[in-house]
């Protein structure tokens, strides 16, 4: 999903290939919109209908929006298929980038767990070390000085100055 062909050359055939793949690409947001609309309709049946004293049911607004979203999704799918999608493809993702993204997100989840058990100052320093390392920082300045200093700044600002329970 996150990988797309890299338009490296200026050759027209490559552009054409990008155009075809862009057709398929554009189906993704269209389908996502339709799927979300259908889910909304399904979920909204569970909303309590409310007392009779109200002129509008609480379901009315989300249902109307869901139908609108489904309609727009269909329109988008048709339009982009007919016109052949757009030329502008986002900057392509790299394999290394995808790995980096997953690693960083896991580090953040790990931080959430760690925070329950360890003091904020320790866990945040560890998180900074992990994030900097994953992002490519090396050396004592990046992996020791930077995490400690930034954590201290955060702690001073929030823990001490604003008295947030960290």
């Amino acid at each position: 999903m996150s990988t797309s062909p890299a338009p490296t050359s200026e050759v027209t055939s490559a552009q054409e290939a990008a155009r075809t793949s862009s057709r398929w690409r554009e189906l993704v947001p269209a389908l996502a919109g339709v799927a979300l609309g259908v889910t909304t309709l399904a979920l909204s049946t569970q909303i309590p209908d409310g007392a009779a004293s109200v002129r509008f049911s609480p379901r009315w607004w989300p249902d109307a929006l869901a139908f609108l979203l489904i309609g727009l999704g269909v329109v988008h799918a048709v339009l982009s298929w007919v016109t052949g999608g757009t030329d502008e493809a986002p900057e392509p993702a790299t394999r290394a980038g995808a790995i980096r993204l997953v690693a960083i997100l896991s580090a953040i989840v790990g931080y959430g767990v760690l925070w329950y058990f360890v003091d904020f100052r320790v866990s945040t320093t560890v998180l900074f070390v992990a994030l900097t390392y994953i992002a490519g920082g090396r050396g004592w300045k990046a992996l020791l000085l930077f995490p400690v200093v930034t954590t201290m700044v955060l702690y001073l600002l929030f823990g001490v100055l604003l008295r947030v329970p960290l």
């Binding site: 996502a32 109200v54 929006l65 988008h76 959430g112 900074f128 930034t150």
Partner: protein, 502 residues
């Protein structure tokens, strides 16, 4: 003239100067910190200022209020993260300018526009507080609904040319805004039994995720070590004569829009910024540049969002009704000081009103000075290599978001919206309409249904203000395509008699 002299004279006390200086630094700091809002800073500061006399106390609180609305522009321009919701529209052009190596110009223009907007608001407060506040009282649910409909017409403007996808994003935002307890019956909608969701999606967490976190995640995904090109170019700092001339029109448009929005109770800089940006786009000679680094865009957005400050203070002082959430907190302090906001305040304590305007005036000038002086230092942030920058943005946003309500749930929402934002970005769906939908969704549904509860459809139809605004909304939707069509026809006729009549 004597209340004016007396009111401004009360500010000559050195304590007041000290309070303004302290407030300015604190305000800029919290403004620049994503997640921490001016409301939170003012609320926490009010714990200390209650011990002070009213004037020095107000000096601290009002200065925080003013300067936070300068500080929040910095992260909006440099890292695409609005420091507070008031700078959402700043990201539209500010970040694009920074990426084009024009961060310096963006920050200077933003500072000047913000200062100008604040000044316009203050002048409004001093000149016409009472009549304007009477106008504000006319805004009931029917009028608010009409205003929100007008706001929804901006969906097209913030879609940046990708209209169908933009509208889908807008509907997504409106749907997200429907999460929570129903505004009229209180029935739980899409809350999945999560108590936090019963108050709806936490807005600040959502915008930080959609803009700032999504940008960082995208960089992480696409960054190539070989193609390292950090933004070391800030371009020129000061606007040239030509720049100033281009900024004139957005300055005027932004002042008008912001001043008007500020008067309406319960609407603030976030809506005004987007509205001002969109109106300036409509009247601009180069509307296509808006959203991809337009000097006019950033000027209009910042003028407009800051011009609301004076309006908010006006409604607060003249009606005793908070103009926005910061003012709600400030009313609490004022009441304890024995200042009762309301129409009688202007008759009984006119000097105090001038003191308040004076404090805001001094705070604006001081903050503008600090902004211009400190900007180069702050902009150095962009010189940090990505491994530092990413870590700083991610962790600072997480801690800042947590601090708002001491609730981990807000942080989770921020990260989830970061992923949603990444998805939207990878598939070319603009994020602006999502935020607009989220901002307006609850207002739209709540006020429509409230108006209908009060008096059925007749309640809306019989309101001249509401009908006027609705008519303007329809014009705003219909006129641009018609005008574009006419222009194209005229152009094709002019080129030749060739049959290219599209």
């Amino acid at each position: 003239m004597s209340p004016l002299v007396e009111g401004f004279g009360a500010l000559l006390d050195p304590t007041v100067a000290l309070c303004i200086a302290g407030g300015a630094l604190l305000g800029m700091l919290v403004g620049a910190f994503p997640g921490v809002t001016a409301t939170m800073a003012v609320a926490l500061a009010s714990g200390f200022t209650l011990a002070l006399d009213p004037i020095p106390g107000l000096a601290v609180l009002l200065t925080i209020y003013v300067s936070a609305n300068f500080g929040d522009r910095i992260p909006a321009i440099l890292i695409n993260t609005p420091g507070t919701p008031a700078s959402i529209a700043t990201t539209f052009d500010g970040y694009a300018m920074a990426r084009q190596g024009k961060a310096g110009l963006a920050m200077t223009a933003s500072a000047f526009a913000s200062a100008w907007g604040t000044l316009v608001g203050i002048v409004l407060l001093m000149v016409a507080a009472i009549p304007l506040s009477q106008l504000a009282l006319r805004f009931g649910p029917a009028e608010m609904f009409a205003l929100v409909v007008f706001g929804l017409t901006m969906m097209i403007g913030v879609s940046g040319g990708r209209i169908v996808k933009g509208l889908m994003a807008g509907v997504l935002g409106l749907l997200l805004g429907a999460i929570g307890r129903d505004p009229i019956t209180g029935a739980a909608r899409f809350t999945f039994g999560v108590p936090e969701l019963s108050e709806g999606i936490p807005f600040i967490a959502a915008i930080i995720g959609l803009f700032g976190i999504a940008e960082v995640l995208d960089q992480i995904l696409t960054h190539r070590a070989s193609a390292v090109k950090p933004v070391t170019q800030f371009g020129r700092w000061f606007p040239t004569r030509g720049d100033w001339r281009r900024m004139l029109r957005p300055l005027a448009v932004g002042s008008g829009v912001g001043g008007a929005v500020g008067i309406v109770p319960a609407t603030g800089g976030d809506i005004a910024g987007i509205l001002g940006w969109d109106q300036a786009r409509r009247v601009s000679k180069r509307p296509e540049e808006f959203g991809s680094g337009s000097l006019e865009g950033i000027t209009a957005a910042d003028t407009s969002s800051n011009a609301t400050l004076g309006g908010s203070v006006t409604t607060t002082l003249a009606l005793g009704i908070p103009g926005d959430s910061v003012m709600a907190v400030m009313i609490g302090s004022m009441v304890v000081w024995g200042i009762q906001p309301g129409p009688s305040l202007f008759a009984e304590q006119p000097a105090l009103v001038y003191s308040i305007a004076g404090i805001m005036l001094v705070a604006t000038v001081l903050t503008l000075g600090i902004s211009l002086l400190r900007m180069r230092g702050v902009a150095k942030l962009l010189e940090l290599p990505p491994h530092f920058l990413w870590a700083v943005i991610l962790v600072f946003c997480m801690v800042g978001t947590y601090a708002v309500g001491n609730n981990v749930f807000d942080v989770v929402v921020m990260l989830v919206f970061g992923l949603v934002g990444l998805f939207l970005r990878r598939f070319g769906v603009p994020a602006g309409p999502v935020v607009l939908g989220l901002l307006l969704g609850e207002l739209a549904e709540g006020n429509l249904r409230r108006a209908l509860e009060i008096g059925g459809v007749g309640n809306i139809v019989s309101s001249p203000i509401a009908m006027t605004i609705l008519a303007v909304s329809i014009l705003a939707l219909v006129v641009p395509p018609v005008r574009a069509g006419l222009k194209r026809r005229r152009a094709s006729r002019a080129t030749a008699s060739a049959g290219e009549g599209r």
